[in-house]
Amino acid sequence: MQKDVMIVDDSPAMRSFIRRTVLIGGLEMGRCLEAGNGLEALTLLRNDTVDVILTDFNMPVMDGEQLVRNLRGDERLSRVPVIVISTDSTRNRILSLQALGVHGYLCKPFTPERLAQMLCTAVPDWQAQGIEERYQ
């Protein structure tokens, strides 16, 4: 089952790493939208939607927290699962993001396998079939 993904990060290198992880992680990716900050992401989503959003926290123009607040306040986008990927491992940050209701928080550095696992958890029907049925 294909899913559309949005990756939000001001680092093109990190966007590439995340994109590759999704591609090789055995999860069928439909479209992959990319944005360099929260404002760009919201602009892209103005007339569109995706199945999951992976966002950095520290970004210029609009950071991840503000992006999530905007998404939660938009009835059309409020249910899209959001995974925050950030270098910030301080307790304050983790608590604030949990309070915002993000579906997952992944601290950098992370293994690509961990990200793939988190995506399966955030989007449970992305890999609902058993492994043998998946390839019949």
Partner: protein, 158 residues
């Protein structure tokens, strides 16, 4: 320093823990020798990246690597074949490396702290003066494709 936000590890210890973790997990590199504290790398010969941070501590992290290591790390991170990386790739990857090492070090330096980290500034070979200072406490991490010099300079805010 705010009495509620204490330093849990020294800057050096935080850095010593953060660098190998980041390099092993996302750049698939392991160290060739034990790290060395001290020294003065010749920055004019190296690729340099710096991130600044503020919040419960203020300061910066700077890292420097020879071109061979920068390219090797870039090729690993972006899954490129040998000699396929462009200078812009190296710039972005080194910046992300500095960003991740800084985050890892800050999380160990002040686990209860609160920070904002700047967008990395990177210069490939012949770094400009504004990226470095003369009083950096360097740690040298030796990898198989070259050394990585890291200077983590936090100052607790009043």
């Amino acid at each position: 320093m705010s009495p509620e936000i204490s330093v849990q590890n020294s800057a050096a210890d935080a850095c010593l823990a953060a660098v190998p973790e980041v390099l092993e997990m996302m750049f698939f590199e392991s160290m060739a020798e034990a790290p060395e504290i001290g020294g003065s790398p010749r920055l004019e010969l190296l690729d340099v990246s710096r991130v600044d941070f503020e919040g419960s501590a203020r300061g910066y992290l700077v890292l420097a690597a020879p071109s061979a290591l920068s390219k090797s790390l870039t090729e690993a991170f972006l899954a490129l074949e040998l000699r396929q990386s462009a200078p812009s790739d190296v710039e972005f990857v080194l910046g992300e490396l500095a960003n991740m090492v800084c985050g890892g070090a800050l999380g160990r330096y002040q686990p209860d702290g609160s920070f904002r980290v700047s967008t990395p500034a990177t210069r490939l070979e012949r770094p400009s003066a504004e990226l470095t200072t003369s009083n950096v406490s360097w740690i040298r991490f030796s990898f198989y494709d070259g050394p990585l010099f890291v200077g983590f300079q936090p100052e607790a805010t009043q």
